[in-house]
């Protein structure tokens, strides 16, 4: 099997499976092929981990959730409908597991969880940012603002921008009506706008920021 045929380059540089490849691999994995399962894991693990980590902000917990999400997806492959993307299904499972973890965290902390107080990523985050000091500062501020969003809003934003999902697909992934998904997205933008108000006076700075981000 020529794996290259089934992989396309996504806009953000990551390799993504085409729909045809995905169906083929899911079919093989359903028959018990470990090689197909490995390909599916390799194709989705980084994206799923980034999404989960953005919500949980804990490396070990995020790895556990990703592993659990893959295992659950594989154990119920028979019920998977090929109408949907495997990634959508996987992100749905991952998101629900994230919510479970957040609820458990809330129970353990014994009170209301302030999602705005999630610790920042630390020095390893800044290492991979752009060279420009100003651009790095702006990016950090943006991620801080994203971290202050509620989990559904954060998930909606990540799925929209990072995964390139439509509002319909976001609603499907998060298990909510499309109007609610749109509402999450719009409210998230509103929060970002108010959090970052006054940060950038000159829009030319933003152009530089966009160029360094890409």
């Amino acid at each position: 099997m020529e794996r290259v045929m089934f992989v396309r380059q996504a806009e953000n540089g990551s390799c993504r499976l085409t729909r045809l490849a995905e169906r083929h691999l899911v079919g093989q994995a359903r028959k018990g092929s470990e090689e197909a399962a490995r390909s599916l894991v390799d194709a989705h693990k980084d994206r799923l981990f980034a999404f989960v980590w953005r919500i949980l902000r804990d490396h070990e917990e995020s790895e556990d959730v990703c592993q659990e999400a893959f295992l659950r997806a594989f154990s119920s492959l028979d019920s998977f409908s090929s109408e949907y993307r495997f990634s959508t299904w996987l992100f749905t499972i991952g998101y629900r597991l994230c919510l479970n973890h957040l609820r458990r965290r809330k129970v353990l902390t014994g009170g209301e969880m302030d999602f705005g107080e999630i610790p920042s990523a630390g020095p390893d985050v800044s290492e991979c940012l752009a060279e420009s000091e100003e651009a790095r500062r702006l990016k950090n501020r943006i991620w801080e603002a994203v971290d202050k969003l509620s989990p559904p809003q954060r998930a909606a934003v990540l799925l929209f921008y990072r995964e390139g999902m439509s509002c319909d697909a976001i609603a499907q992934t998060l298990g909510i009506p499309m109007a609610t998904a749109k509402s999450h997205l719009h409210r998230a933008r509103g929060h970002l706008r108010s959090s970052l108000a006054g940060l950038v006076q000159d829009w030319s700075q933003l152009r530089i920021l966009r160029e360094t981000a890409s």
Binding site: A37, R38, K45, A121, V146, L206, A213
Partner: protein, 256 residues
């Protein structure tokens, strides 16, 4: 020309990619003249770009895929097979019944039943079995109806502890077992007694009876004392028909 307020309302639809070309043109025209709206929209677009492209999240450990696949392998092979499922199907109800029985044994000892209390309080000296409720009733209204001695005796009677449910359930079984054991002991005792009194060697008694019959007036005790069994065995005399040596002992013996 649209106002800043209208332009801000269009931001979301624009960023969602749902704005019509005509409204897009209106928005762009407004941005050319309004620096504030231009900066705000640029900020939102920059946020989108940073979220989409700035992959600053930590990386998964290198062994992640192997771990997932080994866990999956365990998940697949660790499932019970058809035989295992069958065992579960059969075993589950048994386990459930055992659990319920255990729960009853653990919980119900706290439930105590009042049983009949035997009191010795009648004037004629007999033993009367009085239920606890009736006993309470008697205690309350016995001033006039009961004699003084009966009342004193009633007060002296120690209150028996209430019976546990477990005792009530198992008491008949224990009683049956005790009766069976007592019967077996009695039978063993009978056997021993018979063996000691001649059951072990009926020949001797029969020969004694025969010789006494032959001797006529001779006493059985003397005959028995003069019996020579070695001689008897050697000459095989005509024995009388075999009869039970001791009728009552044979009746009492009941090996079953």
């Amino acid at each position: 020309m649209i106002t800043c307020q209208h332009a801000r309302h269009l931001f979301d639809r624009y960023l969602d990619g749902e704005l019509s070309p005509a409204l897009q043109a209106e928005l762009h025209a407004h941005q050319l003249s309004c620096t504030e709206c231009r900066s705000e929209l640029a900020l939102l677009e920059a946020c989108g770009d940073v979220i989409a492209l700035d992959q600053c999240e930590p990386r998964l450990s290198a062994s992640f895929t192997d771990r997932v696949l080994s866990a999956r392998r365990f998940q697949v092979t660790g499932r019970p097979g058809p035989w295992g499922r069958r065992v579960l199907l059969v075993g589950s109800p048994i386990a459930a019944a055992a659990s319920i029985a255990l729960a009853i044994l653990l919980i119900l000892p706290s439930v105590r039943w009042e049983r009949e209390t035997v009191i010795a309080g009648a004037d004629d000296g007999g033993v009367v079995a009085v239920p606890k409720q009736i006993q309470d009733m008697l205690q309350k209204s016995s001033d006039t109806e009961m004699s003084a001695s009966a009342r004193i005796e009633l007060q002296r009677t120690p209150q028996m502890p209430p019976v546990r449910f477990v005792d009530a359930v198992f008491a008949p079984v224990v009683k049956q077992a005790r009766d069976t054991l007592a019967g077996a002991r009695r039978n063993v005792g009978e056997l021993k007694r018979l063996a000691e009194s001649g059951f072990a060697d009926p020949h001797e008694k029969l020969v004694a009876q025969w010789r006494s019959a032959q001797a006529g007036s001779a006493s059985p005790d003397q005959t028995t004392e003069s019996t020579d069994l070695d001689e008897l065995d050697l000459f095989y005399p005509d024995y009388p028909p075999l009869e039970p040596a001791d009728e009552t002992a044979a009746d009492r013996f009941d090996p079953l």
